[in-house]
Amino acid sequence: MFIINCPYCGERDQTEFSCGGEAHIERPKQPTELSDDQWAEYLFMRKNIKGIQFERWNHIHGCRKWFNVVRDTSNDKIHAVYKMGERPPVK
């Protein structure tokens, strides 16, 4: 069980958070313009990386804010935490 440094509250146990999957997948602004394949790419396709992964997390049992986490999925080491809308740290 890892510790996440919520950018609004500070370090808290993982049990206070829920993971929202891969980060930086923006909802298309004009879905109607997209082909089935393009929409499916947004809707279903996720990387599920072994290694450094950019993820969305929600401090659901805390401030309820969403933010981004850079986590190494092979050892759960968290390399960076940053707010929604902020630039991701260089990969």
Binding site: M1, I3, Q30, P31, L34, W39, L43, W66
Partner: protein
Amino acid sequence: MSNNLRINKNNFIDQTVRISFKFNGKKLFGYKGDTLASALLANNIHLVGRSFKYHRPRGIMTCGSEEPNAIVQVAKDPALTDPNVRATEIELYEGLEAFSQNCWPSVNFDIGGINNFLSPLLPAGFYYKTFMWPASFWEKYEFFIRHSAGLGKSPTKPDQDLYDHQYLHCDVLIIGGGISGILSAKLSAEKGLNTILIDDKSYLGGSTIYQDDDIFKINSETSNLWLKNQIEKLKKIPNLTIKNRTSVAAFHGYNYLLARENLTDHLGAHERKGKIRQRLLKIRAKKVVIATGAIERPLIFSNNDRPGIILSSSIKKYIDYYGVKTGENISLFTNNDSAYETAISLNKIGVKVKVIIDIRENPSSILSEKIEKIGIKILRGHTITNTDGYKRIKSIDVMKLSKDGENVVGNKTTYKCDCLGISGGWTPMVHLFTQSGGKLKFRNNDNVFIPDENKTPSEQISVGSSNGDFELDDVINNTIKKIKIFLNLDKNDYENLDIKCSKEKQKRNIWLLPSNKPISKSKPFLDFQNDSTAKDVKLALREGFKSIEHVKRYTTTGMGTDQGKLSNMHALGIIADTTGTNMGELGTTTFRPPYTPLTFGAIVGRNVGEFFDHTRRTAIHDWHVENKAEFENVGQWKRPWYFPKNGETMYQAVQRESKAARESAGILDASTLGKIDIQGEDASEFLNRVYTNAWSKLGIGKCRYGLMLNEDGMVYDDGVTTRLGENHYIMTTTTGGAANVLSKLEDYLQTEWPELNVYLTTVTDQYSTMSICGPNSKKIIKKIIPSLDLSDESFPHMSFKNTKIDNVNCRIMRISFTGEHSYEINVQSNYAKDVWEKCIEAGKEFNITPYGTETMHLLRAEKGFIITGQDTDGTLTPSDLQMDWIIGKKKYDFIGKRSLYRSDTIREDRKQLVGLLTDDPKEVLEEGAQLVESLEKPIDMLGHVTSSYFSPNLNKSIALAVVRSGKKLKGKKLIVPMENKNINVTITDTVFYDKENKRLNA
């Protein structure tokens, strides 16, 4: 032979306090400080159990948590009995009652022992191979397996003990109270760090605390006395917490550890009353020091499992710590120096050591020289080829090893003995290190896996013998050196200690010792608890198993309650030897938590019974209880299910309630519906985006039903939302969906649409809701709020009024989930019960009938209204539900819109919601029942029933179902095949009652 093997010299057992206990019904005595195992051995009882598969007699083999054989059932009481307790760990208390497991009718005469003679028929994978065919025989096999397998009996009554959880935080956690743990704890605590020291024993000091010999000295004191002084000093340091009788079960990431603290398991029954039995510690440590030590390995030779064969270091502990002789005529068999220490201890108390068999050719060291001075015979380069004795070892056969160690040569000599100490070297306890994610490296010269310092996942170090240091000087010096760096320490007292100890000169290891008989005729046991032998491992390899994980499962080696603490290394060694692989490349099987078994009690702590989960009750709950409601769990909510009168069945009550609601008036507590307060200048735009229909033009004071989809186009939730003001809405959600809907909406607001100025607040608990429906509902509302204009012009269907009931502010919506003219009253929850009682009082003359969820479901089914989660399951689009009318076709976008015309969602043969009528109107279908067109095999499943009731208002059975291409099948006859009959049904419209919606304005 005398039955009392207790000696009088020792410092650890309180021989002034005699304790009586029972083993297999026989009354025996021991002393305070004994374990059950040491007390049994003092009574000359070695035979304590039968092995799992062959039911061979098995004796106490170790003195710790690695014990594979001495697994007992403790206590008789069906609520308190505890299976699979290691006799080597449980401390003796007055009145302790223990029983052998896995034997019937008794440990001395066991019917399953016949399996031993059948053992050629029970090789590795026997169960897999034999019990597979024919499949129809499985039930018979299962009966046989269940009766012959299993260790111990589960309690049959609820556990009456108390358990607890506790969170601990510290700078440094030290696991293991042996010499390296003690030194680490002292240095850490002296530095002022908040330190916790955990040890699974009742005392501190590990094996050094009874290492009492001139060979082992620290600063000219014997090692045990020196350590004792250190422990005395340690206990005085204020910022140190010592947890005895505490075993770390799991080491997770980020230095999060779980440990089980035993608080009363060592106490007599009368001392336990009212106390917490075990506490699960949840520890978050900044730094962790693993000092868990090492356990001795057995040696693998034929018939190495007889009672009386004990690990040599355990024999030493039984003498030096417990003051118990494990026999009168002991021989030792070793591949390393530690057996020599045991021989010295035995010699001191006058037990004759007949012979030490050492597989090494030239094991000369300070220890071996001392042994020779004493005059104990050492057979170098020899091995034991066989043993004899059924319920207790009687003799050993010894032969010389060939130079390469693969064969035996010369003649065999037989030595009589009543106890054999065996030592196959030491295995560092790296379980916790690997659980935390650490990787191991293999040290070839003494065949050990040790932690790889460069592959350590968190702030932790391993010290002492758990790190592969086995000799006193190495243990101390390396621990000090590592701790100094780990904790950034300055100079300390321990840096220039004068340490004297023996150093081992020669090492030799043979995983499977050779015999003069072919392996097929021998029984070299590897896993004593699961009865797997070296033969089984070799057979598995011959049959093509290569992965160690597969060999483990196929042979069940290492799968007992001891998790292979004794057997795993030898299994790996034999696999490596047989396949010609290096052990380091082979790797180990996975070490999984818990390190030692945990009780379910400790895992759940106080979260039992009514504390298992939160219970949510509406503000009107007490009224429901007073009025004899039966309750239904809906998530965490307790909802009235139905209100039986005069002994009615559920069916009778629901029929009565449903009729009353349509004929006069009904009232429902709908407080559990999720309520989200939505405010902000973009609230209308926000609703436009989250619901499928249009919201911008909804007037203030109006209500609208909305359907919410997932981005994949599937129906997610539904409910009525009311516009309270220009920028103010109140949304209702389903009871079960409330929390998820709020989270989903928050997600979109924060991450996709941060430009929207909208605030969401859950008010589910703050407002209570009661729904009054039926043709007389208007009259009832009129009585409660005479000033309110209830005309259709002023207060039409799907509109809302802010008003007061007496002095209580309330919101009244004219909305309906039953199809009847109805009102929903929302008040602050503090007033809810009062307002509810007013409604009941006002409704008396109209026979107002409280109804529960079951009647609600029936009434809405008559109208064909869906319940998300019952009629939908996350695979249905609005169109599948025949709700195309709710899609805002002109809307540019909303959640899920694009998915509504994906190639898959526009398929015409999707499952679609339909109504069903049974040919026999009295026949009520079962929810979940399958629908088919014909009974010709193969039968094509077309769909299933989602909702089904007998409608008292229509006097016939009605149902909703999802059916492939259902929309096109109106009028089609289908069959519902049941166990005893086939029910004929016809597909209909989904609305059964009042298709023209006349009653809404009645």
